[in-house]
Subunit: 200 residues, 3 copies
């Protein structure tokens, strides 16, 4: 179980670091700016989760290899990415969204918190890194804009799927995989078909 | 006493959620954006207070009904508010400012911290939700602008009134009510008569 | 040792409060806005450090005289600063950057954390106050912009110097002084000679 969480954390951190770096490159930042944005995107959501739940020192302080992984991912994607297309950014972002949402809900459930709070923790952990990334690039966070494709909503739905599965005592590995995959696919579908919420 | 604090917290959360939703509507956000802004406005100040004081898990994680209350308030004010006038926004914001200021000071005093720190905690708890709300809408926070009517100053004065009352062992219920009401009225007067601080 | 840390904290807080006030004046804020920006700049980095490490209540809550010192520094520099030249702002900012970086690394080492994490803590503590200051003034943080002179890089180098010195069991007082001075001088040199990182 702990092994699984650690593995998911590494993938989520690497994907988010890549998405942060690509976003930073679009804003013509230098390598320090890009690495900072990468760190913030990769660690922002999980840090907020750990602070809110009182799990300190936070996760990336306890495991220094996470920062090494984020650093290397950011450096490689900074110097390798040539043409700046949006597709890799959206895929990396969707991977991070899916995994961090499930991780957030899992840690909340471990503390015996209610399902509502676990879903909230999932959403916060999933989207907060991206929100910070956008704020540091000084634009209204993607997730809050009116004409944006579904984002937090994907996290909301997938996290509920995961939690309902845990109610039925389904194997955590399977439940996590299905929840994260649901979020990932929903997000890509939302971007592909420009699915938005109805305006008021 | 705990009952009173809980009651005040609910009113403050609901008022702040409403003010967040109305602000989000002014920026043409969709329902997810509006609810996110509502949550941030409602829980931002108290979360910062709990994190700084080391009271984790933070208050809205422990009591899941708070998030339900914020959610419902946000949804109702999102779909109900028709014409977007400023008055309900200012009133809801002033209620949240008054109550959260007193709550912040109260929790600091419970930890035997000094009066100066209690006032600071009151101000932080009172204004931080609104600051985050403004930041997420990508504008210079209201409270920091030069020509703004008194805002943090109202919290400062009312919190001192509350703390001085506690020095004289006046009943907490009465002291809280007077402090919060003073902040509320001061804020409305400041808006009505465009009271500002002298520029340098 | 604790005496030394306290002394360094006071100087760092005062320098950062001054730099925050001068930045706020450039944006034509009133005295409340200026003092808020001063507090955020002075306490932002150390607060983030304490939260991430789980050292709560955070440092300025435990020692109320720190807030008094920040308040007085902000008020004096708000009403005294006449012509608004950039030089005092840059010097005050560089002092804060140097001292807070070393303080952040020191506290991480006290918790037996790895050197990589200590350097990261140094950078976070050093730059975070300035990042928040810039965000609250609603501009892309200085440190992240493409054509900016070296900033986080100075903190990175100086903190490594400090940590390498501690590996050789050199007196902490001397190691701290050399590390902080290196950051301070590097930063001033970077501004003077417009040293930047190579663009991608």
């Amino acid at each position: 179980m702990d092994q699984l969480l650690l593995f998911l954390t590494y993938i989520a951190v690497i994907a988010s670091a890549v998405s942060g770096t690509l976003e930073a490159r679009k804003h013509e930042m230098d390598i320090v700016g890009a690495i900072t944005i990468a760190f913030v995107t990769a660690f922002g959501g999980g840090t907020m989760r750990d602070l809110l739940l009182g799990r300190t020192p936070v996760f990336w302080i306890i495991d220094p290899w996470l920062t090494v992984a984020a650093f290397i991912s950011a450096a490689i994607s900074f110097y390798r990415a040539k043409g700046i297309s949006n597709t890799p950014l959206i895929i990396a972002d969707a991977v991070g969204l899916g995994l961090f949402s499930i991780l957030g809900a899992t840690y909340a459930l471990q503390l015996q918190l209610s399902s509502i709070v676990a879903v909230l923790m999932g959403i916060v952990t999933g989207i907060f890194g991206g929100v910070l990334r956008d704020l540091l690039c000084n634009k209204i966070p993607h997730v809050f804009r009116n004409n944006t494709e579904l984002y937090a909503t994907c996290s909301f739905i997938g996290t509920w799927i995961f939690i309902i599965f845990t109610w039925f005592h389904i194997n955590t590995l399977i439940a996590s995989a299905i929840g994260a995959t649901a979020i990932f696919i929903l997000r890509l579908l939302a971007v592909r078909f420009k699915m938005t919420l109805p305006a008021p």
